[in-house]
């Protein structure tokens, strides 16, 4: 049936992509199944756990709540795209140094939430970090480690300047 398929053009991780899919397909499934970007995880599928966060036009959104038809002409940055950003290298180092995560299931969602924060605030304080992470659930309780990692990365930037 022709009505079942829509053609979409959008930017995914800084590359223009074309996609044909059912208009009701979730962005989460488009990323995982159509593009093989499995860093975006499926948790609750109701927009509550934050495991499936991606950046859409610079704002974090739950990809399980976004249907395909809302994607046209948008810019999507998944965790794979965020990790390749140079500005995010420092934070990745701090996560590793502090061993911020336990099982790591929530890590991609948390890092997307942090990327959204760091786009607007270069050196956020602990309160701002906690507020940015308020939509990310971590069963292992790694919140304090994540906050510490971001603060450490900010203080490293202050000490050594931007690289």
């Amino acid at each position: 049936m022709p009505g079942n398929v829509i053609k979409l053009r959008f930017t995914l991780n800084e590359k223009q992509v074309l996609l044909q899919c059912h208009p009701g397909t979730r962005l989460l499934d488009i990323l995982r199944h159509d593009f093989g970007l499995e860093g975006t995880r499926e948790g609750c599928s109701q927009g509550e756990c934050g495991a499936c966060l991606v950046l859409m036009n610079g704002l974090s959104v739950n990809s399980c709540l976004v249907p395909a038809f809302a994607l046209a002409d948008s810019e999507i940055l998944s965790i794979e795209g965020i990790l390749s950003l140079k500005s995010f290298t420092d934070i990745r180092k701090s996560f590793a140094d502090i061993q911020a995560y336990r099982c790591g299931f929530c890590s991609s969602g948390m890092q997307v939430a942090l990327a959204a924060l760091l786009l607007t605030k270069r050196e956020p304080n602990a309160d701002e970090i906690r507020r940015a992470l308020s939509g990310n659930l971590c069963a292992c309780g790694s919140y304090n480690g994540v906050v510490e990692a971001v603060l450490q990365s900010s203080s490293r930037k202050r000490r050594y300047g931007r690289r």
Binding site: M1, G3, N4, I6, H22, P23, G24, T25, R26, L28, D29, E42, S45, Q46, G47, E48, G50, L53, M56, L59, S60, V61, N62, C64, L65, V66, P67, F69, A70, A72, A113, A116, R131, A132, S134, G135, N136
Partner: protein, 290 residues
Amino acid sequence: MKEVRVFRPKSLGGTLRLYTRNPDSLLYAGGTEIVRRVQRGSGRVFAFPQKVIYLGNVQELNRISRSQRYLDIGSALDLSRILKLGRNVLPPVLFEPLSGIATPAVRNLATLGGNICVRSCRGDSLPALSVIDAQLELRTAGSTRWTTVGSFVSQRGRPQLRPGEILTRIRVPLEEWDFALFRKVGGRRRRRTLSFAGVARFPKGSIEVLHFCLGGLKTPVLRVPGLESRLKNASIPVSTKLIDSLLADLDAALGSEVEDSPEGRYRKATARRLFRWFMEKVNSRSLEML
């Protein structure tokens, strides 16, 4: 898979004409509530109805304009962009409930229009919009009308929309209040949630105007005008005797709003406590101002 036809109009005129021609279509803006209902099993494809009108590209519904007296908020504007106006522009009594809705990522999708029109998330913005006398603009292809929040939401909680009508704008008055308070209590389930919004202005030792509203009862937006008018010109601090007599009035108004069950009695008691607490806060704020 079910056939779904999605319209993506760019102008309001086009949207209204489309909706008149396709009255059975689903209006979709943020979709945070709708997609939860249409998810099937593990997801993959949302089971939308046959026709969907996507409002995300309609410029007129996605902007804010500000005059000296009002803030006009497009109904398809996401909550994050509204909150970016900050506490200094947005009335504090409205800022509080909006900033408490869901998570930051959901607020990037969810819209104020959706919060007003979707029954399941009404505990949040409606009481706040009601106490500041916000107006809602409803348009069809050939007509425009304005209504209050109280008359938009029926006794049963359904939005009072005529055929082909769309909520297009929310007009928020930019008045100064000496005291504003919003509280939401209870669990996340709608039936258990009770919200309270109140604002007051008391410039010269007496109350010039005091509005309060309860949300989450049988009437989704409960204002008690008789009680509000009794407080007009009352000297501040308001005496305990007057507060007690106001509580008796509130009891009468709450009579048909709650069921005679343990939960109903709890809700009634909570509504009374919230009102008393609000009045005590008004009193202490008035003393600070002296």
